[in-house]
Assembly symmetry: C2
Homo-oligomer: 398 residues x 2
């Protein structure tokens, strides 16, 4: 298989170790656009927002970005006024080094909460970080954003817009605290398409709604979640500023890239051994379908049963009962992949249970619930809850 080509015209990438992460892995990354790029952004819905999130939200209003500076190993969250000053200082150093406007530099951080950002280490790293900028540097930036991730998560697609070839590359890091309204995630996407900032924002929101907002690992929402999409226009087509046919083409590519990145986030959920799609159908209304799906997707008992490969459908029905959604106990059907296991609220037992047990042995499967109360459906990707999830998170800071 040919290695993927992550070069995007007009973008340079870099990633180096500065020992903010204690193990010497890369922890400082830089994305640089040779020209000011349109930028769209999505940020955590948590009311406690990390300093870099606050700063990036403020700068997003300008609609333009030339550089993204990101570190892992320290979230710069719950660090008060000094944290905000630190985040500003880092972007100012980058702006100086690249000779660009500081307001076009967007910061992001991920890692431990509540510890002052080790600005000295970052400051010392910045000259080398800038020196190493390269069109081929993508994977080094990807490495620099990883924390408990066990593999790099990247995606690349191309399409044609107004006769020009356009490329879109995306990276994402998880891997815990993944839930709707953004996961504990950083995701950076760059494209050489030419798209107005306002259209880009609409496109990103729409794509995230059906990707990053449809996954959950542990129901947590972090302080640092950030998605940034930069479009520098180097592809050379005329600027897209409304959702026409070309807009739809880019939208569908963006959706696909975000969905693939979201899928890999779940696959790499902390300690996850299974990726499970939960689909609820027949909800009385969309809100009910969503509540029911998330109650199942977040239930520790359901998730430990997945880990144990135990077709314990009673826990699924139980979660439906406390989800807050309207349910009729006598009308619930449950399927593991295509095998029915519950019909009209009663377990089918015997062979059905055996077949369901086989499904659970798979790395990836689907649980479908039909409430038979309406036409609404909602689906969400979740993981099992494993012994390793506990191990990873019990000792995260040490």
């Amino acid at each position: 298989m040919k290695p993927l080509d992550f070069r995007v015209p007009g973008f340079l990438f870099s990633g180096i170790p500065t020992w903010v992460k204690k193990d010497g892995r890369r922890d400082l990354g830089l994305i640089y656009s040779e020209v000011p790029a349109s930028v769209a952004g999505l940020f955590t819905s948590n009311k406690i927002k990390a300093a870099p999130v606050q700063l990036s939200m403020e700068r997003l209003r300008g609609g333009l970005c030339r550089a993204v500076i990101v570190n892992s190993g320290n979230a710069n969250a719950c660090t008060g006024g000094p944290g905000l000053k630190d985040a500003r200082e880092v972007t100012s150093l980058i702006a100086e080094g690249l000779a660009i406007d500081e307001r076009l530099v967007f910061p992001a951080s991920t890692g431990v909460i509540g510890v002052p950002l080790p600005v000295k280490k970052i400051r010392e790293g910045i000259p080398g970080l800038i020196d190493h900028l390269s069109p081929e540097g993508w994977m080094r930036t990807v490495e620099a954003i990883m924390t408990t991730d066990t593999f790099p998560k990247v995606e690349v697609k191309t399409c044609r817009i107004k006769g020009k070839q356009v490329k879109l590359c995306g990276m994402v890091k998880g891997a815990g605290m993944i839930r709707p309204d953004l996961a504990t995630m950083l995701s950076f996407l760059v494209t050489d398409a030419d798209i107005s900032a306002s259209l880009l924002q609409r496109m990103l929101g729409k794509a995230a709604e059906a990707s990053f907002n449809r996954i959950t690992v542990d129901g947590e929402t972090s302080t640092n979640d950030t998605v940034l999409l930069l479009a520098n226009g180097r592809a050379g087509h005329s600027c897209l500023n409304r959702m026409d046919r070309d807009g739809e083409i880019f939208q569908s590519v963006l959706l696909k890239v975000c969905q693939n990145l979201a899928g890999s986030l779940v696959k790499d959920g902390e300690g996850a051994t299974k990726v499970v799609e939960i689909e609820v159908r027949g909800g009385r209304n969309p809100e009910d379908a969503k509540k029911a799906a998330y109650a199942i997707a977040h239930s520790p008992l359901v998730k430990t049963a997945f880990f144990g490969e135990d077709a314990n459908w009673g826990r699924i029905v139980c979660a439906l009962g406390y989800s807050g959604a309207q349910v009729n106990p006598d009308r619930i059907d449950v399927f593991f992949d295509k095998s029915p296991i519950v019909k009209n609220g009663v377990g089918l037992g015997g062979r059905s249970e055996e077949r369901a047990g086989q499904v659970l042995k798979k790395k990836s499967f689907k649980v479908t619930v039909d409430l038979h109360l309406g036409k609404s459906r909602f689906s969400v990707l979740t993981t099992d809850l494993s012994i390793d999830y506990v191990k990873i998170n019990a000792s995260y800071r040490s």
Copy 2:
């Protein structure tokens, strides 16, 4: 220490093994009142209610009870019409054996969901169960209701009402699926006090609100939760039917018994190694204080950090941020026992962190959060999330 005396005038108890539980431990229990007793009951808020819950709820309307028949090893939940028929049959066999009105027999079940109740085993056990009824049988009934519980959870208190000595004995089983609005729990309380059914119901509701409804282990709400309180009047005082001074005396004893039982439930939460009280103060309103407390109490990341004895307060602040409660990030204070660790939203670090680390080594401690936005407070007992929680629940049915 003198062994506790669980005899209550007019009550007989029994508990035997019938091999519904696969390991030969006791799994069928019976509580019998020689005279019709006033009865109060609380049941799961889950919309999927087990067959015995449905039946007991129906019979509670009569306000009188003479027998409680309970089995462990099978929840008789999600078993449809046949399940309800099975529950009725069991109560009918008990009524026949004791020569009492079937409508005064209340069933309860706990165990695996979705498997037909093994009525044959229970039917065969009933004559022996009745034969073994004894004033000294309390602990055998207690054993019969245990599932993943690692120790029996009982409480006994006495008080004087209108010059007569009155006794109250309670038992409870957990140990997973413990959350407010009742835990996955069965609790049976018996007293020789003479109290009208309607007053008894009010008293039980009030006591549960400040005990069973203030604990959480994993945020689940089961299909079978049942609390029954029987008062047979054998103490010989005149009947209490309003909340006068004597009523208050009994209420406070009942509260104490329920709180102690609730505390032991959390202590025996599945896999729990720590019992942690989460208190949120300074909430803008009671609803906010409650939301904030439960967000912390249910957060898998907070709970794994407790297990790892890691003073990772960032996760606590993060949970506050997504709790839905109004918070001002710059005004949050956090204490571990009496040691401050966060002041005005910023970690105190250094010695404070060390002291907090010491608190976390304890088996039992308190986390206090002050939001500084109002006067509302709410507190809840929770546990850590351990490797054993996952082990226990991954293999529960096998």
